[in-house]
Amino acid sequence: MANLNINIGKLQLKNPVMTASGTFGYGSEYSDFLDLSRIGGIIVKGTTIRARQGNPYPRMAETPSGMLNAVGLQNKGVDYFINHIYPTVKDIDTNIIVNVSGSTIDEYVETAEKLNSLENIPGIELNISCPNVKEGGMAFGTSCLSASQVVRAVRMAYKKDLIVKLSPNVTDISEIALAVEAEGADSVSLINTLLGMAIDVEKRRPVLSTITGGLSGPAVKPVALRMVWQVAQAVKIPVIGLGGIMNASDAIEFMLAGASAIQIGTANFIDPTVTIKVIDGINAYLDRHNFQSVTDIIGALEV
């Protein structure tokens, strides 16, 4: 049994396996299938200052080894989270991280401020990369300037752990990672979804109500892994890797490429117990290769 503990910024994780925002609800949706306290961290749904209805149906299209979604940040707003959800999740023995989105810098800041005071929320993940909302969202994550601005503003307002989630829809993701590192992000997580599209040829209409949507799942894994590798070479803060992880072997690829922890998203839909299998699989790998600690494999790729 190797040591799976890992610290990321100000967070202490019992293992490097977290769940990705928007794919694991508030955890409770999965509690019939697994013991939530075994997971390293749960990143809950994208949360905004006010309630949002999200985009019209249809919001989903299956694609080869992946899916497109266009949920568009449907959520009941940060106050609802604080008053109704937080009390039900705060005692789960894992890191509950809130994924924060907004249309303006002020919205990000206001939301972050409200979360700052929640004792059992050790950090937030700033979503500057959501492709499914008209204003803000991804736009912040696709230029160094706007990424810096939003991170700087939130950093002033939020004192606990600040993860910044990067968009893969850019020419040079390292550049954005360096920009948010400079503004005081404790870590970066990547990737959010790739912007994609699907068409129903019989109806000659887009499958999604929003025309385009975010691609996730194993289809994107090679791109995600490359970006994690590039960013891990560029920044000094920890990198959290995600995008298409389906099993322990995928997770280990990301860690070898330089990720200190990983998140699992779409795979939860196919196997609600996948997180536990990945934790056990990483442990088995470490034992088989005689590593004492999971930290031994972070960035251990030989090139």
């Binding site: 019939d32 999200g54 919001r59 299209a61 899916m67 449907q74 939860n268 196919i270 196997d271 117990t273």
Partner: protein, 258 residues
């Protein structure tokens, strides 16, 4: 209700027509309790083009025989693969998912279960359930043609069966809502599942006759358990998940143009 991830084994795959297959599943363990209207998310192995699970209604559950029935209509690669399952193969399911049909408050209520196409799937178990609880059950089943009206004798075990076909090859010719039954009698409760235009027509008839009407929606789903918010329908309370707050909705809650 507690949800399970179970590996059930295929006991039989009955070919009902070129489109329809009945998968009879069983297990060494006792099957969990499932309510009529609920569904399962089925993992499709061995299809290169099927990535997500497929939502499939509980067609029938026989606790004595410990059998779970799924009615499969072949649409694309996922259902095609399911229709190829052979006895002894194993199928991974998340279940029971979603809410359920609500039985009438009045014990003497007259009820009509209206199904079209694959939408008949949840109605067999609902009919059995209603009958067991003392209701007099009527089924109205519609299809394009005779060959798609399958398993009629199964429905007859639980109530009267009326049928329509668009080409008149069995039962009355036309759509379900054109069946003479709807002119003659008044029903207090309608339960319907099938193509949206059919369900809307049933809903319209129910509204007109001041009956209660529950419909079961088939929105595309990713997780099936309320985590992804992909399956929403617009309701009087805004967007809600069909997989958790549905698939069964009272039509007064939906924002349908009817």
């Amino acid at each position: 209700m507690k949800k399970f991830m179970l590996d059930l084994s295929v006991k039989e795959n009955k070919i009902l027509s070129d489109q329809y297959h009945l998968l009879i599943l069983t297990s060494a363990e006792k099957l969990p309790e499932i309510l009529p209207g609920q569904f399962a998310e089925v993992r499709v192995d061995g299809s290169a083009t099927t990535f997500l699970r497929r939502p499939i209604s509980i067609h029938y559950i026989d606790y004595d025989a410990n059998e779970l029935w799924l009615l499969i209509q072949v649409k694309g690669d996922g259902t095609k693969r399911l229709a190829q399952m052979t006895a002894g193969e194993s199928l991974n399911l998340l279940l029971p998912l979603g809410n359920n049909f609500n039985e009438p408050v009045e014990k003497d209520a007259s009820v009509l279960l209206v199904g079209g196409g694959c939408g008949v799937a949840p109605l067999l178990y609902l009919g059995a359930h209603l009958k067991r609880n003392g209701f007099k059950v009527n089924f109205l089943l519609g299809a394009r043609t005779k060959d798609d009206l399958i398993e009629l004798c199964e429905y007859e075990r639980f109530g009267n069966v009326f049928t329509t076909t668009e080409d008149g090859t069995l039962g009355e010719r036309g759509f379900v809502t054109q069946h003479s039954l709807l002119n003659g009698s008044n029903f207090d409760y309608f339960y319907t599942c099938g193509p949206t235009p059919m369900m809307k027509a049933v809903a319209r008839h129910a509204l007109k006759t001041k009956a209660i009407c529950e419909v079961s929606l088939e929105n595309t789903m990713a997780c099936g358990i309320g985590a992804c918010l992909c399956c929403v329908t617009d309701t009087t309370e805004g967007h809600v998940c069909v997989c958790t707050e549905g698939p069964v909705f009272n039509i007064t809650k939906l924002k349908w143009q009817i």
